[in-house]
Symmetry: C2
Subunit: 233 residues, 2 copies
């Protein structure tokens, strides 16, 4: 936790931290005292330095000091086949920490249909918060759920691809993922076990470019930082 | 699991898979049948295609077909402050999957001493196996435990650094991590909460170069794929 991220609220001089997770972190890991300075963010608004002015059992009160710069996003829409619930948390946290602007969780042939009923999907805003707190960011990315592969690719991704290129990570191709691209783009990552040939063909027909990441097959959650770090340098 | 990795053993024409985890994966995820082809590796030896010739309840027998190429390693020694036990598994798996040649788990001021007693440390060979199976690799990296920071940095890392450069990932510096370096090197990553100033000074005095990874603070386990993907393109 590199900032304490509070829910969206009206502008004021003093703020109160009440989230038990944040209180526990401040007490146990940082052992905070009155007068200590903290980095604080208000979600989707701003980030500032703050000073602790009162500590109670379930509340820590802070006063606002100087405004701080919010780290820039990377101009990427990350499109990922919905992973197993256990992987979802890490995937969202990492993508948010790395500064992804928009995330699409999409269906694909090898995505188990039961994943769409997972209670973890209701936890997405919490995972986003954790990712923002790690990065010192406050702006939540947009997250879109696309439960049908074909209409998503044909009706929406195809249009986006006319604006900015779409790079698909896939082991079975001759061309290697570009690096230092540093321009707006979409990145597509398949499910565990990969896309089926029909899906790769449909992506290609709709303008997507298929690239490999070397001769080692990576897990989805490892492929994301690898691709983003390679494209945005 | 992109290959079935078997323990080191004498060269033969037929092999038997007995590990319950591997058997379960082959049955449940791949639904294998007699005559199916598999990718198989013998740890620290070789990799080949194989055909299933017999399926019993607790055993799957295969016959060896043609030899396959083992994916190349990246020429890096990854030096990481020992993370929380929960993070250790993922960190080792990812590093092995990405092809790291040698891993040093080292002590640092912000590493809780109790981590060195964790039973997870005895599981390292298992995590290595999982990482190799993901990558389709068979060569286990060397793993070294360094329980004292200063003697390690002064007596060993300093010597390595005379041969190949050592890049330390650290948020508080002006210089940005190089990219497309593609040469042998050491990479150092600190603990949760970062290195303390004394440690950064000691690393510098011993020839290490300190670089940031942008203005977002990453978790150890995210920083590893980000740095490796940036240095080795």
């Amino acid at each position: 936790m590199n900032i304490v991220l509070l829910a969206k609220q009206a502008d004021q001089h003093e703020y109160c931290i009440r989230d038990p997770r944040q209180i526990q972190h401040l007490r146990q890991h940082l052992d905070v005292k009155i007068g200590d300075c903290l980095k604080v963010g208000i979600q989707d608004q701003e980030r500032f330095d703050a000073r602790i002015i009162r500590i109670e059992i379930h509340e820590i009160w802070i006063e606002r000091l100087s405004k701080q710069v919010i780290p820039a996003k990377i101009p990427v829409t990350l499109i990922v086949a919905l992973p197993r619930p256990k992987v979802l948390r890490r995937l969202i946290m990492d993508s948010v920490t790395l500064g992804v602007e928009k995330i699409v969780l999409m269906h694909s042939y090898r995505v188990d249909k039961s994943y769409w009923q997972s209670p973890f999907l209701e936890q997405l805003p919490h995972y986003v918060q954790l990712g923002l707190e790690q990065a010192g960011d406050v702006m939540a990315p947009e997250i879109i759920l696309e439960k049908r592969f074909k209409p998503f690719v044909e009706d929406r991704l195809a249009l986006w691809t006319q604006q900015h290129p779409t790079f698909v990570g896939h082991p079975y191709t001759d061309q290697s993922m570009p690096y230092a691209y540093n321009q707006p783009c979409q990145v597509v990552i398949g499910p565990e076990g990969g896309f089926i040939p029909y899906e790769i063909d449909l992506l290609k027909e709709n303008g997507c470019q298929i690239y490999h990441l070397g001769n080692r097959i990576l897990r989805t959650e490892t492929a994301i930082p690898v691709i983003l770090s390679r494209l945005f340098i």
